[in-house]
């Protein structure tokens, strides 16, 4: 069947079958391998993508459900070789260890900061509870989210200066 949707800002038309998972459509058919499969049962969040701005587990989402919708994956954040502030923050705080869960965390963070540009640490913890990381112990991830929030609110200059003087 024919499926039309917006993928990372670009209109897309693909043939797929009704049983296809969004995860497989993105990874295997469209080559967006930044989407990861950690469990295939909706428990780990590694396959998180945004559908119309909301975080969705692509392993539990049927491809046909995204007809006419907008999908954003980690590939869509990186434009012209320039890191998105969230990506930048994850690298800077060492919020990335093995990196397998990272695209899912970054997309969940994107959704959080769209809704709440200035979350408290406990709001970040609660929001990210659907994404599992086995490497970091989460502290450096939470730091990354808070730093990304600062960058996106435009406090970037102040942050950089503060970091330089410290």
């Amino acid at each position: 069947m024919r499926l039309r949707f917006i993928l990372n800002g670009k209109p897309m038309e693909v043939d797929t079958h009704s049983g296809r998972r969004l995860l497989d459509l993105l990874r295997e058919d469209l080559g967006l391998i930044g989407v990861k499969e950690g469990c295939g049962e909706g428990e780990c969040g590694a396959c998180t993508v945004l559908v119309n701005g909301k975080p969705r587990l692509s392993c539990l989402t049927a491809a046909i459900q995204v007809e006419g919708k907008e999908i954003l994956t980690v590939e869509g954040l990186w434009e012209n070789g320039k890191l998105h502030p969230i990506q930048k923050a994850f690298v800077e705080t060492a919020g990335v260890q093995c990196g397998f869960c990272t695209p899912g965390f970054i997309m969940a963070t994107y959704a959080l900061l769209s809704e709440n540009p200035d979350p408290s640490p406990s709001e970040v913890r609660e929001w990210l509870a659907g994404n599992l990381c086995r490497c970091t112990g989460y502290a450096q991830i939470i730091e990354a989210v808070l730093l990304a929030a600062k960058y996106m609110r435009g406090d970037a200059l102040r942050v950089t200066r503060a970091e330089k003087t410290s």
């Binding site: 930044g34 990861k36 800077e92 260890q97 990196g99 397998f100 970054i106 990381c133 970091t136 450096q140």
Partner: protein, 768 residues
Amino acid sequence: MKVVGKNVRKVDGIALVTGQPVFTLDVTPPGAVVGKILRSPHAHAEIVRIDTSKAEELPGVLCILHHGNVPRTPYTTAGQGWPEPSPYDSFLFDRKVRFVGDRVAAVAATSEEIADEALRLIEVEYRQLPAVLVPEEAIGPGAPVIHDEEESRGIHDPQHNVAAAIDIRVGDIERGFTESDVVVETTCEFPYVQHVPLESHCVVAYLDEEDRLVIRSATQVPFHVRRIVARALGVPLSRIRVIKPRIGGGFGTKQEIILEDVAAALALRTRRPVVMKYSRAEEFVAARTRHPMKIRIKLGAKRDGTIHAIEMDVLSNTGAYGTHSLTVLSNVGSKTLPLYNKAPHLWFHGKAVYTNLPVAGAYRGYGATQGYFALEVAVDELAEKLGMDPLKLRLANHIRAGETSPIFEKIGEGRAGKAQVVKSCALEECIREGAKRIGWKEKHGKKTSEGRWVHGVGMALSMQGSGITDIDMAAATIVMNEDGSFRLLVGATDLGTGSDTILAQIAAETLGVAVEAISVYSSDTDFTPFDTGAYASSTTYVSGGAVLRAAQEARRRILEVAAAILGEPPESLDLEEGHAVSRGTGKKVPLSEVGHRAMYVTDQRHIIATASFVAPESPPPFAAFFAEVAVDVETGVVRVVKFVAAADCGMPINPALAEGQLEGAIVQGIGHTLYEELLFSPRGRVRNPNLFDYRIPTAADVPDIEVVLIPSDEPTGPYGAKSIGEIGINGPAPAIANAIYDAIGVRLYRIPFTPERVLKALHGKSMG
């Protein structure tokens, strides 16, 4: 120091945050087929008949392997140095299955659906055998013999299901206890727990244009994969190339060869690229686990608090195969007993026992984690019986720099060890700093209540090692490009720890360049030099030692060329900020000029240096852990309010990455302390093989964790560094157990400390 000691950003960070195709399954060769494994429904059975004819008729099925059509060569799945200290008790496929989930057959097919259908069509007739699921029963009279095959080698006592055994005595243990004024004895139990890397085991195997077997695998041990697959399949090692891309976490489970052998066999048979991946359920059932253990420990002390005698008696469950059975068992003693080195009388003994349950293997901490749970709970009890502050008792007994322990010499890697004097130790500072941060003086022994929640604090110490003495060897090659940049080729395997970054920092510091001037490549058995792999807390110390030496040699060669350019002796030159600089005259020449001259102009040569480093000893990192818990006395729920770890990993090469190792290990440890456990049906089936029923900590579960690095200077380590990868996981279980006791006066000896267990213990106390 310009680069070492700085929070340099991870060299692979940008690739990882932008979703580049860096993991094993992110790239699939054209024409790839899917490999899948048929697993045993029985805990112990003989395969009487296997009929694959119906499955073979299915269109799209290319090949089916089983015991009847593959070589029968015993090997070990443990990715350890050669000769491996683990028994050769595994086969590619066997006539017998030894746990629910054991391999029966494998299929290669053109799609996953066809492969699944083919598995259903394979007819297997089993003769069920009595199964044994309890270690005590496995070594009891009349137990079924799990490894009765003739071909296995290196099993300690197959007739009694003993995979490995150890018996080490120092001094006179009986006298030691007689001479002690106070004796405590306790038994702690560690259940089946698992690594749970977010990326499950996966591999792609194919034949290249020269018909060599290429294995792209998520492995911690590429060189051991090559050697072990060569043995299992009877393929010359020279015909195999193993590529390790980025790895999605390992924690020890990827120190095992559990998928590469099958994928390689299918690729050889079908001549097609074969992709294989464990499902999450397979990961829980058929990957590896920590060795479950029962540890009985007896401590004797003089009235002044000097620990005088220690006995440790270990019963380790290795599951159906004996991978890492001897070395994990050895580590229970070798990584714990030296911590309290004042005791002249020691007896460390134990067995690793086969059962018809999933296979235990290497898991971060590697026996030390189980050992410290028992030891540090017992030390807490000893302090109570002595009427001493447990902090003071530990301060009075722990090892210091300049001291040794006879255990270093007595216990090695499945054999005798090597005498070693501890050259760096900041444990005392770690204890004092950690105590300050948790508020030990104000809180310990003074439990406070907030409604149903009772607060208490507890502590534990730990040490680990840095690589395996005289066994772990790493090599590194530094290649200079003409523009003054470098390639660093290492067999070391960054499994997410950041070791590529740390090794680049060591090279950059030595060569006087920025980290950006170093491109790290790890690892490929065709193109990078040998490294035993990422395990035993070895990469910073052992691989780092090799990188340091290779960089020093490259530096010497650069200075020779620069000396010729500047007309000054090489000894008067330094490398700084991409230049060779004269200390005397201040004259300098950029490395790009050195590179161009050496490569194209005068006295031509390529500046390349390779060096190897063998761990001459295993300098221990040290840590002090402190937990504050709140226990809900009505529901039994334990909440960790605060966790503090102060650790000495020598000079941290990259403090942010070292802290990340510590934090990650602590949270993994809190997971097994409070909720993680594989559960089994009476017939040996895993009851919770998914992330809903086997819960690992989420961001919302994690308490306030404070980690602090207290540096020491390790003279044998690169820029004074020791290891940090494992030690953090040893602290949570004993520190939390001791904090619970401080809060509610009840000792818990078996993790996880679920609300049911806590309540039961509380009620037992009130009834008693």
